[in-house]
Symmetry: C2
Subunit: 144 residues, 2 copies
């Protein structure tokens, strides 16, 4: 695994999986641009590290046990694209989507942009229709 | 642009944009695996060229003027990830989603797998919640 692929692997585990806030300065550049991320409340914005921390803790509150598993990585210049699966338990409310306690599963793809050994932005699409259906399906379909 | 990036660029234009069926043997390997593509009726299947042609013509019938615009490509070994925008006019019916005549816009990311200079599969996520909302929004929001 290349050095930057290892960094990205660790970032997904420590930041998004374990919410290790003390590691944010290690992984995140002074500013972080969300180039494309439909449905994300911060889509299109440039975040400071404090704003990145706020996005992280807010996003994770929906499924505090969430974990990303990288499936494929392609590295080219200052960018790495990663295809991932995501799993978590729906324990926090979202607007219009109260917590269900269900096990959720989603796939997505993200291009991460590097500045040196830190991340300065991403371009992402997640299967939010899939997650929406899992959150709103009748009870007999929970976990699907 | 690398040779394979040029091939992928041409594939998106000629196959998905112009539906040049005669070019399928040039771009598609003997079999084509859809590793991940939530919402695609062929998700998880291995397609022959004839089945790929059927998927192409069926998918394109929803928006016959559709066009993909590559935004970022990352190439690594036998794989290229491409971030793209998609535009088209909703002129064909989908199950439960009759044609609206609206201008649609979507983003997505795809990892394409190469076998020599031809494509042998993909791993993809599209923003299908975004497109669903554009198809079902009240009339005053058409085109959003």
């Amino acid at each position: 695994m290349s050095p930057r692929k290892q960094i990205l692997h660790d970032f997904l585990h420590r930041i998004w999986g374990e919410q290790d806030l003390s590691a944010i300065p290690e992984f995140i550049a002074d500013s972080y641009i969300i180039h494309n991320d439909p449905g994300d409340p911060w889509d299109g914005r440039t975040l400071s590290r404090d704003e990145f921390r706020n996005r992280l803790t807010t996003s994770r509150s929906v499924a505090p046990d969430q974990r990303f598993t990288p499936v494929h990585m392609t590295e080219d210049g200052d960018r790495i694209a990663v295809a991932w699966t995501w799993e978590g338990t729906h324990l926090g409310d979202m607007p219009g989507l109260p917590a269900t306690g269900r096990s959720l599963r989603m796939t997505g793809l993200t291009i991460y942009f590097f500045e040196g050994n830190r991340l300065c932005g991403h371009w992402q699409v997640t299967d939010r229709l899939g997650i929406y259906r899992q959150m709103t399906a009748p009870d007999q379909n929970s976990g699907n």
